[in-house]
């Protein structure tokens, strides 16, 4: 049988390029969104978050954009490095701390 893992969206970039990872969320009432990075064999690591009353937030080399009209979230990584290779998950807060995670995107950075 097929492995579910083979169906994750993938993004391959060259070192130094900018990366854009996209996510569609489902609950228009979600008030808080988070991006996590998960390396092989490790737990998810917090990258950046954004409240629903914002449309953009910047961190170190990362920017999150939120479009509530189409329920879309994106993570932009500037000057991508090999250490950025991982699976990236978006998560939405359904209220009272209950996070619902998206499918995940595999980012591969080639030196």
């Amino acid at each position: 049988g097929e492995s579910v893992g083979l169906h994750l969206p993938t993004l391959s970039v060259q070192e130094g390029d900018n990366s854009i990872i996209n996510c569609a969320y489902s609950n228009s009432a979600s008030d808080y969104f988070i991006w996590y990075k998960q390396e092989s064999g490790k737990g998810p690591q917090f990258i950046i978050d954004i409240r629903s009353n914002m449309d953009k937030r910047q961190g170190q080399r990362v920017t999150v954009l939120l479009n509530k009209t189409v329920k879309h979230l994106s993570l932009q990584i500037a000057a991508t490095q090999p250490g950025d290779s991982a699976v990236y998950f978006c998560a939405e807060n359904w209220g009272y701390g209950k996070l619902t995670f998206g499918q995940g995107t595999i980012l591969t950075v080639h030196p």
Binding site: H7, K42, G43, P44, F46, F89, G97, Q103
Partner: protein, 116 residues
């Protein structure tokens, strides 16, 4: 600051056996979560504690899964009897309070369970 600690890291059991996972959250964090992550999928919330009380266990298969946080610090998650479909990574996470801006959820490295 120490992170979320989990043990054991890896466990292989036969179906119908039982297993228990332990979690020690970040010091001072009132909220503790157990997530299940099946290969190739995002984590799914099983149960959420606020101190020693259960906030949400709507997705916990209560016929076989149980969890407790008796003193409001450490927590254990038990599966009895295990099924093949329980093979997954069990992630413990914690936050200062209910998650939101400024109350980031931090995850442990996970406990990898294989049921054969």
């Amino acid at each position: 600051e120490a992170g979320v600690a989990q043990s054991p890291r890896y466990k292989i059991i036969e179906k119908r056996q039982s297993v228990a996972f332990w979690c020690n959250p970040i010091s001072g964090h009132a909220t503790l979560y157990w997530y299940q992550q099946i290969l190739g999928q995002g984590p799914k919330l099983l149960i959420q504690f606020q101190n020693n009380g259960v906030v949400d266990d709507s997705q916990l298969p209560k016929d076989r899964f149980s969890a407790e946080r008796l003193k409001g610090v450490d927590s254990t998650l038990k599966i009895q009897p295990a099924k093949l479909e329980d093979s997954a990574v069990y992630l413990c996470a914690s936050s200062l309070d209910v998650a939101g801006i400024g109350n980031t959820i931090y995850f442990g490295e996970g406990s990898w369970l294989t049921v054969v």
